[in-house]
């Protein structure tokens, strides 16, 4: 039996108290000294988050950051909001309990490729499937940093690390494909080094009601330095980077050598030279398509080799959230049946002595 709950479409922050107070990044900065390694991509993400939160116009005290374990997991300590630095991989579970019981909070999960995809992989896919109103920032540096340099579930095959002296034989995850396979309603990818794109992506994620996953390619200068350098080199970036825009044809490349994404006869997506392509054959990005096939195909275009690299919002689809529906059931029950504890304890079959 299914029940159509008929919930109206809502934004990710509906229900969170707003304020007219003019916050700045400084108001979201805690007194704790930031202790990431010099050159760590996490600094850029922290700055972007602190800089963008004031524009949401919600009360600072109604913002919560929850993390697991790893370098990225120190994030909550550096934010002057409510926060919890929990245990390895479990942040989505804690955020689920919090978001389900507190619709007045904006709940953020900060995780990494080890925390979120390895030890906490199960929780991540279930949070996405369930569609709890949380925003997950997945810092992907393709390495274990805090434990000092073992390969992660997003490391390249063949990668030589402390735990794989002869090269890793593991097949890496594509986090965007994984999230889409888990039915996530909002899936995006961005780069630590592109502040404008990062901020724009965070903004879209916060506005989405339900589980949002933002994969952030993030450089680890100590154990996997330069993993994303091709996306920072001006020429290479132009040649490789696709920025998805809803409603726009998927094209990229430098002025002199433009490319476009087309659907071939077998139905698969491939990259074609723009000047050899009929404009009508170009794939138009539709982030709001209900089925995940389109977004999934886009996620498969670029692989581990970052050639090309697809960024932007792959999918942004509204569907009923777990927490809204769970609360609705409580509200309905409270309306239909008075909460009479004495009556509950007494039940119907009693005898008196």
């Amino acid at each position: 039996m299914t029940t159509n709950l008929g919930l109206p479409t809502m934004g990710g922050l509906d229900g969170v108290p707003t304020t007219d107070e003019e916050y700045s990044a400084k108001d979201f900065t805690s007194d704790q000294e930031v202790r990431w390694c010099p050159g760590c991509g996490d600094y850029a993400v922290l700055a972007a988050v602190r800089g963008f939160l004031p524009e949401l116009g919600i009360k600072r005290e109604n913002t919560v950051f929850v993390s697991g374990i790893g370098c990225s997991a120190r994030f909550p300590y550096y934010m002057n909001t409510y926060g919890m630095h929990s245990i390895h991989g479990r942040a989505p579970t804690i955020a689920t309990g919090l978001a389900t019981t507190r619709p007045d909070l904006s709940v953020w999960v900060v995780t990494g490729d080890g925390d979120g995809l390895s030890i906490g992989g199960n929780h991540l896919i279930h949070a996405l499937r369930r569609n709890v109103n949380i925003t997950v920032l997945l810092f992907n540096n393709r390495i274990y940093g805090l434990t000092k340099g073992q390969y992660s579930p997003t490391s390249d095959q063949g990668m030589v690390t402390k735990s794989t002296p002869a090269g890793s034989v593991d097949t890496p995850f594509n986090p965007v494909s994984l999230a889409l396979g888990a039915e996530a309603g909002f899936v995006a990818r961005t780069l630590d080094s592109d502040r404008a794109h990062l901020t724009e992506t965070l903004r879209a994620a916060a506005a989405h009601r339900g589980s949002s996953l933002v994969e952030i390619y993030q450089n680890c200068p100590i154990f996997n330095d330069g993993a994303f350098d091709v996306l920072k080199d001006a020429d290479e970036k132009q040649r490789r980077l696709i920025q998805l825009r809803h409603g726009q044809p998927v094209t990229f490349g430098p002025e002199h050598e433009r490319f476009g994404v087309v659907r071939d006869e077998g139905g698969e997506l491939r990259v074609a030279k723009l000047d050899e392509t009929d404009e009508r054959d170009l794939v138009i990005h539709d982030a709001h398509r209900a089925d995940t096939g389109h977004a999934f195909a886009l996620s498969r275009l670029g692989g581990q080799d970052l050639d090309p690299t697809v960024t932007g919002v792959f999918r942004d689809v509204d569907r009923p959230t777990y927490d809204d529906q769970a609360r609705q059931q409580l509200d309905d029950a409270a309306r239909q049946r008075p909460a009479d504890l004495q009556q509950l304890l007494t039940g119907r079959d009693t005898w008196t002595i």
């Binding site: 108290p17 805690s30 007194d31 704790q32 009360k59 600072r60 005290e61 109604n62 913002t63 919560v64 929850v66 374990i69 909550p76 300590y77 934010m79 002057n80 909001t81 409510y82 926060g83 919890m84 630095h85 929990s86 245990i87 479990r90 989505p92 579970t93 804690i94 955020a95 689920t96 309990g97 919090l98 978001a99 389900t100 019981t101 507190r102 007045d104 909070l105 199960n122 929780h123 279930h126 769970a326 609360r327 059931q329 409580l330 029950a333 409270a334 239909q336 049946r337 008075p338 909460a339 504890l341 004495q342 509950l344 304890l345 007494t346 079959d349 009693t350 005898w351 008196t352 002595i353």
Partner: protein, 638 residues
């Protein structure tokens, strides 16, 4: 079993038939009935209904369901036998009974599996229709036990239950197979006649249970009445028995299982604390019924979350607790192992949370549907680091209500995760419960932090400043302006709560966390030592209360002196416990594990605790404890 004060009557050892009664109707003080059949025969339902009838009649009662872990083991085999034992009496009883006075065996497997437990002279009612060659062979009977003479020491009643049932329900037009499935109600009707049970509630129950299937409802009613009428009209059942209502303390009673009472306790704790209740759980036997029950009570502000695994269940409960809910998780031993890291986090966060472990046989998957008390050390010490957690254990099904409220009191007052150790026997067993007046339940309301508290006069909130008496820290929930703070599993600076790797601070914090738990106020234990002459003390914890108490009654009835006490708080232990332990010459500690509590008592109180252990997946029997304890008492008197 109900809680009573003062002198307790001796547990009778026989069925106590009163010779003065006319031959057709005899009065007895107590009866133990066991319904046994295939796991698909509906024996649990039959037992449950008979229990409700006994309860409605005002008997004291205790029950012991015993069923296989497989949902439908191969039909007619020994592993597939499911049984339900019920003890009811006209006085307050303590256990589901050692040996059944009456066995209802629906097939040869059920007979064979239970025959060894029957005392000489017991009544055996068998469904002869199932005693076919094929079924007999399945359980290794060369010759039918109904013919071989091996049941001669019992009063045997042969009843063609399947055929009689089919005949009785023929008019409903059900298929033969459907019709035969009503035979458990025939058995219930027959036993209801034998023991003069009221039938209105069962008739109403059947109508409601099958309200969507009037044909099935009608068939079950017809089978039930046919069973009753069969008893009344058949000469083979010349005698019926009466068990008068028990004279329990005045009040209004109902019947509860341990898991139901626990669920009600959790709902009540939510109301009395005025906090929303959040239960994060993952299905596991024998705890799942708490999740099922709690899911019915959304109107009380109870959210239930069936998580993707045990870890997510407790994680979500902790997240809800961070947000100001009464966070609860329910599980059994294997699940507790998975939750231990999160419980450790809750210890570090100093947030209230309840963890209910309904223990079952271990290690590993063990015996999912059988009972054991072997998670005590896991509950106390099964986490990394110094990670003290209060631990409580209910002594009976009805006690689960009170213990849930007491656990919530401790969690909320001291801002700590609390572990509650029930077990399979308590969870599924049932007994009368005197319904409490909700106005008399403890006030569990809490004060959330509302303003800055920094010791240095700054306008900051220091999450780890403590109440000087309870050592509890303040609970500042998200949404409270000005109290933004971060908590986490890394060691925190005493007071301010920022990350601290300072050696002295860590030492101080470890000791503070321990002192906070050690300082929890728990009631002193009371000793039941009627004559005040006992030299031997028997001490148990959890569900062994019933059989230990019954054994003590038997000893006293034989003129022996023994003192009994029972631990409800395993951590911290009651303040007067050491003194009590040292005031007896001998101490016996029966446990359904390998002596875990005995080891703790020895190390903590330097007493010579004598451990008696059993790990058979079944509760102690009063008889075996009687033997064990009388040997010790005799030894002490030498």
């Amino acid at each position: 079993m109900v809680a009573t004060n003062g002198q307790q009557p001796a547990e009778r050892t026989g069925s106590g038939a009163d010779e003065q009664q006319p031959d057709t109707q005899r009065k007895v003080n107590r009866v133990v009935i066991r319904f046994a059949g295939d796991s698909g025969d509906g024996m649990q339902l039959t037992g449950d209904r008979f229990t409700s009838e006994a309860a409605a009649f005002g008997n004291d009662l205790a029950t012991l369901p015993n069923y296989p872990a497989e949902i439908r083991a191969p039909a007619g085999t020994l592993p597939g036998v499911s049984s339900f034992q019920l003890h009811f009496a006209d006085y307050d009883i303590l256990t589901p009974g050692d040996r059944p006075d009456v066995l209802v065996a629906m097939n040869p497997a059920a007979l064979k599996a239970n025959l060894g437990d029957l005392p000489h002279g017991a009544t055996v009612v068998v469904n002869t229709d199932e005693f076919t060659k094929r079924n007999l062979k399945k359980v290794g009977y060369e010759q039918s036990p109904l013919e071989s003479g091996e049941l001669d020491r019992f009063t045997l009643h042969r009843v063609a239950m399947s055929e009689l049932t089919k005949g009785a329900v023929a008019e409903t037009g059900l298929t033969r197979k459907e019709a035969e499935r009503c035979k458990n109600m025939f058995a219930l009707g027959l036993l209801s006649w034998m023991y003069h049970r009221p039938t209105e509630n069962t008739e109403r129950f059947l109508r409601e249970k099958f309200s969507g299937k009037p044909q099935v409802a009608e068939a079950n009613l017809l089978a039930f009445r046919a069973g009753w009428n069969y008893g009344e009209t058949t000469e083979s059942f010349a005698v019926s028995y009466e068990v008068e209502p028990a004279s329990l303390p005045e009040g209004t009673y109902r019947q509860v299982t341990g898991n139901l009472a626990l669920s009600y306790g959790l709902v009540a704790a939510g109301r009395r604390s005025e906090l929303p209740v959040f239960l994060g759980s993952y299905p596991i036997t024998p705890a799942s019924d708490v999740l099922h029950e709690m899911a019915k009570h959304k109107n009380f502000g109870v959210t239930t979350f069936q998580a993707e695994d045990e870890i997510a269940g407790v994680g979500a409960a902790l997240g809800a607790a961070f947000g100001g809910s009464l966070g609860v998780t329910t599980t059994s031993g294997p699940g507790l192992a998975l939750k231990s890291e999160t419980i450790g986090l809750a210890v570090a966060l100093e947030l209230p949370m309840l963890i209910c472990d309904i223990q079952r046989g271990g290690p590993s998957t063990g015996l999912p549907t059988k009972t054991e008390q072997a998670d005590l050390l896991q509950a106390l010490y099964g986490r990394n680091g110094e990670s003290p957690v209060p631990v409580l254990a209910p002594r009976s099904p009805a006690d689960c209500f009170d213990i849930a409220i007491d656990a919530a009191r401790i969690a909320l007052t001291y801002r700590t995760p609390v572990l509650l150790l029930s077990d399979g026997a308590t969870a599924n067993g049932s007994e009368p419960w005197m319904i409490p007046d909700v106005e008399q339940l403890p006030d569990l309301r809490v004060d959330f932090a509302t303003e800055a508290n920094a010791a240095d006069g700054s306008e900051e909130f220091w999450p780890y400043l403590r109440d000087p008496e309870t050592l509890a820290r303040q609970w500042a929930i998200p949404g409270t302006a000005g109290l933004e703070h971060r908590v986490g599993g890394l060691e925190k600076l005493d007071g301010k709560g920022s990350i601290s790797y300072d050696p002295d601070n860590h030492d101080a914090m470890v000791r503070l966390r321990q002192r906070r738990i050690d300082g929890i106020e728990v009631d002193d234990v009371e000793v039941d030592d009627p004559g005040g002459q006992a030299r031997v003390l028997v001490l148990g914890w959890g569900s062994s209360y019933g059989p230990i108490g019954a054994a003590c009654r038997r000893l006293r009835a034989r003129g022996m002196s023994i003192a009994q006490t029972h631990l409800r708080h395993l951590n911290p232990m009651p303040g007067n416990l050491g003194e009590i332990l040292r005031s007896y010459e001998r101490l016996v500690v029966p446990e359904m594990n390998m002596g875990q509590l005995a080891m703790l008592l020895r190390s903590r109180y330097l007493v010579d605790a004598q451990s008696y252990t059993k790990v058979a997946g079944l509760p102690f029997q009063a008889e075996e404890l009687e033997t064990v304890l009388s040997d010790v008492v005799r030894g002490a008197e030498l």
